[in-house]
Amino acid sequence: MGIQEQYRNEAAELLSSGAVKLVIGYGEGSTSDRRRPVFIRSADETARLVLDANCIANLSGYLVPEGLLSDGKSVAVFLKPDGIRSVNILAAEAQVNPDQVVILGFDIDGGQASPLPGRKATDFAPLIESQKSTGLSTELQQEADQLELMSATDRFEYWNQQFSKCIKCYACRQVCPMCYCRRCIVDVNQPQWVNTSSHTLGNFEWNIVRAFHLAGRCVACGGCDRACPVNIPLRLINHRMSKEALDAFDHFAGESADQKPVLATFRQDDPETFIL
């Protein structure tokens, strides 16, 4: 039995037993290599679920809309390791109760989707631990190294060109499981903290605000980078922030639901004196 059939059966069982009220998974998209999020509410709809190597989107963001989990019922969601880490962060930040999330975990390797054993976020702790010891993506690091080699002036010019393309469609924000604020800082207008205009300055403001808000929270799912309609390499910004968090604080985003948010905590024995 292939993984797709296995997970369809499992989803059907979860729904018909009443263990979950909803399964968030992937379905056929508008072309043969596209997958789209689907919301399955009854066992007889599970044939719509697709699971293969094209299922790359991190679906954990669909867990946070207001009211979804407020009835105490559980929801099952198809997640790769990056999405499982997102659930841990959302739990650490009190956005979801991890006990209400049933994880249908899988990973993609060599063009194939394969199942990951476990159903609760905690079941995947050893896997995430091993990912932490492997470190951040070497591919991303190689790409980031190209930027590090530039002079500060050239690097600024590089980002100047990239951010000039931004149209403030906020696809990066909307697709990101970590951007769950009910009112984003850029939408606050009394006072207007951030320019709403999409000129280069306003675009810098937006992209830098977002980069800082994601420091130590991004799991490198790549959602924002893929969503960006003007191809800004957002992965490189987020990677750089993740690297800082890991190098300076040994903080690997989404390690567990008990993890303290790196920018919202401090240690009594912190060597820096400015904190206390």
């Binding site: 393309k165 909307q174 939408d187 205009s197 999409s198």
Partner: protein, 337 residues
Amino acid sequence: MTRILLHTRLDDCLAAWRASGYSVLAPSKSHELTRFNEVQHASDMALDLVLPERTIKDHFFPQTEPLIRYRIKKHEIDTEEMVPPELKRIFFGVRPCDASGLAIDDPLFGWDYKDEYWFRRRGNSVIVTIACTSADDFCMCTSVQLSPDSTKGSDVMLTPLKDGRGWQVLALTDRGNALLETIPSILQESDAEPAPPASVPVKFDIDKVTAWLADPASFESHFWKEISQRCIGCASCTFLCPTCHCFDIQDEGDTYSGIRRKNWDSCSFAMFTMHTSGHNPRNTQSTRWRQRIMHKFNYYRGKFDVNSCSGCGRCTRQCPVDMGITETLQSISNLPR
């Protein structure tokens, strides 16, 4: 016999146009993005694209545009109007859907008030369109009563030749004729055959769709909730759309001086309809998606007798969650009646 322009003469063409005071914009790739940029040479152009990622709308209705500079004094307010520069521009290699988009938006910008910012740019621009001989999975011009060789919104139409050496050239407007008069020796007479237009399958029945949307009962249909469940509420579809035209007026500055700007806005955003009181009449994503579809295929056509969609397909092509107008209109088209 028709007039043709050979690829090998394109550089001469650009030189002649520049000598006549035009700047030429064409699809090209810069900083990993395909869009209309000013070009100097034929080799800078990316004319084999099905479509550039950004539309030409950006050059008529920019994402942010300064309108007025103001300074508040003790007893008076100084204002200075900021007008776009009077540029003579040629848009070369526009696709029929993008050219149509301009024509679709003209009545909106000229309806109760003539938008100088739009029409000044329109008046100084010549649209040289290349008919499509290829399409991708997302193209849907034929579903909205246009076609891969539609001339709507174009001043000059270029139809690729079958032998791939150039284009048949046809002026459609006075502006187009005037443009061709600047290159008389570059065009030549030929009986070379044109290539057939791209085959773009019809994806939905637009008449069924508009009839359903016009039915007041459809407004509260459960359909809207189902179709928009996965919508994340970004503005990728609206900002890449050749016809979406909503904007917001913002004052940027301090207490005493600043610039009033016209910025793109999107009905996809929750903030779009937020009242000062905190009440939001479109407080769910499904009501916002309904608005977008209703506006394009019901309200706009009611007012201007044309759908506010030219079938470019960018909304679906670029959607982070694979939504878009095609799927929604297909689903409406297939609803049981």
